[in-house]
Symmetry: C2
Subunit: 553 residues, 2 copies
Amino acid sequence: MELLKPSTANSPPLTPLGFLDRAATVYGDCPAVIYNSTTYTWSQTHHRCLQLASSLVSFGIRRGHVVSVFAPNIPAMYELHFAVPFAGAILNNINTRLDARTVSVILRHSESKLVFVDCASRALVLEAISLLLPNSQRPVLILITDDTVEPSSSSITDDFPDTYEGLVEKGDPGFQWIRPNTEWDPMILNYTSGTTSSPKGVVHCHRGAFMITIDSLVDWAVPKQPIYLWTLPMFHANGWSYPWGIAAVGGTNVCVRKFDAGIVFGLIERHGVTHMCGAPVVLNMLTNSPNNKPLRNPVQILTAGAPPPAAILFRTESLGFVVSHGYGLTETGGLMVSCAWKPRWNRLPATERARLKARQGVRTIGMAEMDVLDPESGLSVKRDGSTMGEVVLRGGCVMLGYLKDPEGTSKCFKNGWFYTGDVGVMHPDGYLEIKDRSKDVIISGGENLSSVEVESILYTHPSINEAAVVARPDEYWGETPCAFVSLKSGIEEKPTEKEVIEYCRANMPHYMVPKTVVFKDELPKTSTGKIQKFVLRNIAKNMGTTQKNKSRL
Amino acid sequence: MELLKPSTANSPPLTPLGFLDRAATVYGDCPAVIYNSTTYTWSQTHHRCLQLASSLVSFGIRRGHVVSVFAPNIPAMYELHFAVPFAGAILNNINTRLDARTVSVILRHSESKLVFVDCASRALVLEAISLLLPNSQRPVLILITDDTVEPSSSSITDDFPDTYEGLVEKGDPGFQWIRPNTEWDPMILNYTSGTTSSPKGVVHCHRGAFMITIDSLVDWAVPKQPIYLWTLPMFHANGWSYPWGIAAVGGTNVCVRKFDAGIVFGLIERHGVTHMCGAPVVLNMLTNSPNNKPLRNPVQILTAGAPPPAAILFRTESLGFVVSHGYGLTETGGLMVSCAWKPRWNRLPATERARLKARQGVRTIGMAEMDVLDPESGLSVKRDGSTMGEVVLRGGCVMLGYLKDPEGTSKCFKNGWFYTGDVGVMHPDGYLEIKDRSKDVIISGGENLSSVEVESILYTHPSINEAAVVARPDEYWGETPCAFVSLKSGIEEKPTEKEVIEYCRANMPHYMVPKTVVFKDELPKTSTGKIQKFVLRNIAKNMGTTQKNKSRL
């Protein structure tokens, strides 16, 4: 037995890139990408990606170079998920909601050689470039034109020596794409949006991208040829791996430049959408939209990115969406924990179903192990649904590490685990529930208190649109919960702080009830739509300590 | 980038074994295995496998030991796919249709430490043991009792120191299963049935088993919780990986001891079967059975193992089966080429659809590459659907190699490819069609002639049940096709040799028409149901050379 070793024939590097070759063979004449009035077949998409990759090589892009993209969910963005690694390069999607300063930090840190820039973001990227240090190398900028945004934007300027379509046209459709030397070669560089700190460059290898892609297909039971609507930004952890996944199953990618509930409902009807993804905030926007309407056919919607309040899950399902809920981080390239649904739960009342579905769930089949560890002892916490600990993971889709940050990398890789920084509990049935980011836990009178739990109850209040709860320093308790809320539009009688607190008292243990409620027109968000708790935490801190308060109990 | 290397957290060994832990968590109270009146839930199956594994360890089984199984598709057979590797050992399924001599060869060659023996095969295995050389180590025999076969077989004898259920009962359900040290550790040892030569021991590692399992799930688009009927023997390339696959999706395994068309139709109805697999001979038996009846609900049936004649495909589909067709070898652990169906083919006439579906198809997404190479130049053959060459593969599910056979291993691993020994053509649309095993090609007048092609036309003859075509030496042409056929039962007027030849003349190019037709009550088969062409080839050879014959044209 010892003589039998892996060989070239049985250990070719795992990579999702070959999915596109196969899609062109099997689904060549089927629609691959639809955007407004443009449709590309899988055969066309395949050719376009090879052409673009060959042009990148002509531009001097080499194995291991970083190529950045600054664009929304348009066809170019989809194609670059294949074209950039086809050229041997590393794909770096940049969040289009970032400011120029952060973009310049990313360009400098990644040493990006070339940036594809959507025409709507030209000014911002130019500003970012102007902020680069004088001794930094300036990346080549390539303009992605879009007639629906700027009908006459095809002209080449000094800043943009070529356009995306120019590169496609010049390229060779017979280009032999550059295979990775090993499956551990880097393929993806994603900067975390950073709810708390400066962006970190998360590096994924070809094997990791392959693993998360097929794992996500099996876990969501994606059938052949789904119609997939791109409501989740591809710059957000590569759209949870579905750019590669949809090629694997020969589906149709319906692209959309901007999220708008009315447009989404229109596209669902027009193209017969079967699948889509989005953070809970997307579910919230869909259900709160005046344009919402019950779906003709069920649409599978996969949500993750934050624990979804049960009330939102419930409202989404009543429109006809079939909600699946999972959990992942930029560091895992997609969802590797999901709330696998048990058939018998269908017999439970709707609110109970929503409560169960709001849990993050169990590891997917590609993820080797998951646990919740006590921060002190490092041992598994009790499976009691209430003892909190840090969520740790081990599996093939966990990142290689953070770019140029050995300290950050070694901090989260300990004892053979990846430490997520998320705080959760393990229920008796083996399902994980995230309670908070470790830094978001409120410690009041020595008790750990999950801000997310308080928020999920605030979301059930009929007038509240969004809610975030953070710690406010307290003389007696150490910290107390402080709630920031925004109200739904069109509310006639706005609730008072006292009324909200009373609502909480009626619906949660007293020690969890916010001592302070602050009304805001809108809560501050990160570029990926997550509420910026560190901003709110600073506000709460500056409000001063709350007074000694013995009324608790 | 160079600093980022795989670590324990992101490179745990790939293995399908963890699927069972997960199934117990998610589908714990759902049926996992059904056999006659016995049903085990996933939770029970999980416990039983852990108990058995712990008993194996108590028996002295260690990492890397070989444990053999000699059983049909009964619950024990299913459980051993997890229990044996849970103990760190290598699972060796032995084909129950083999004779005692071959079984003894396998036991000696594999150095098997322990053999689980189905009660119905007790005598045969004891005979095999008696044939072992005096200096061979004798494996421990464990009896698998079955009340439906031998109501009083539970007694322990000298030959069988324990029973399967005894081991389960004694075992520890809290046993921590033994994880592989690396994903390249051997997990499976399957002996090829050998249509031509003595059995070879095909070794697969944990990674290979993981790859073929998830790949097979995605390729067949298996949904969650299918009802899977075990018509394909698990000893046949581990049932094409579905023992692990059905655990991954939490399905139900309906076990059946013996293939019988009437029983199969009954089980489909009784359990609401959704999925099953089988060689074309199984399809043939289903459609030719007097008990066949149109299905109430469509059943997915996956076929492979031999190129299925279009006529059989057609008849199977008219009963309501949805036939998928793939291609694999024991050396690939399952199917890694499949005839991915194009939606527009549904609009074609039924015979044309069947012709297309009889092709083997394209690589699955987990298989990195597939090609057909010219034996002389080693280059890809023309994609013209007629130039024959050898099928080669490269991918993560290709075996590690043959046990104790470095020569055989290096013979099939050349230039980074695995050489299948199968002869095929590549169609212009990129779909592979197998024409023959290389040794089955008939060379007549310098022309390569596919025996399978002649057979597929013979199968369309209304009176012919089975057909096999081999080369018969010919003075003038070198070789000519010689057909061996068996007729359907109940045929009133049996066709003559002349009539069959005339039928062929009307339906195929003249140079392909058999010069000889031999009628047989039954064609000789291997233990996996494949026709033994080498037996027929010997018969044809002994018939003497056919006479000079210029009538060809």
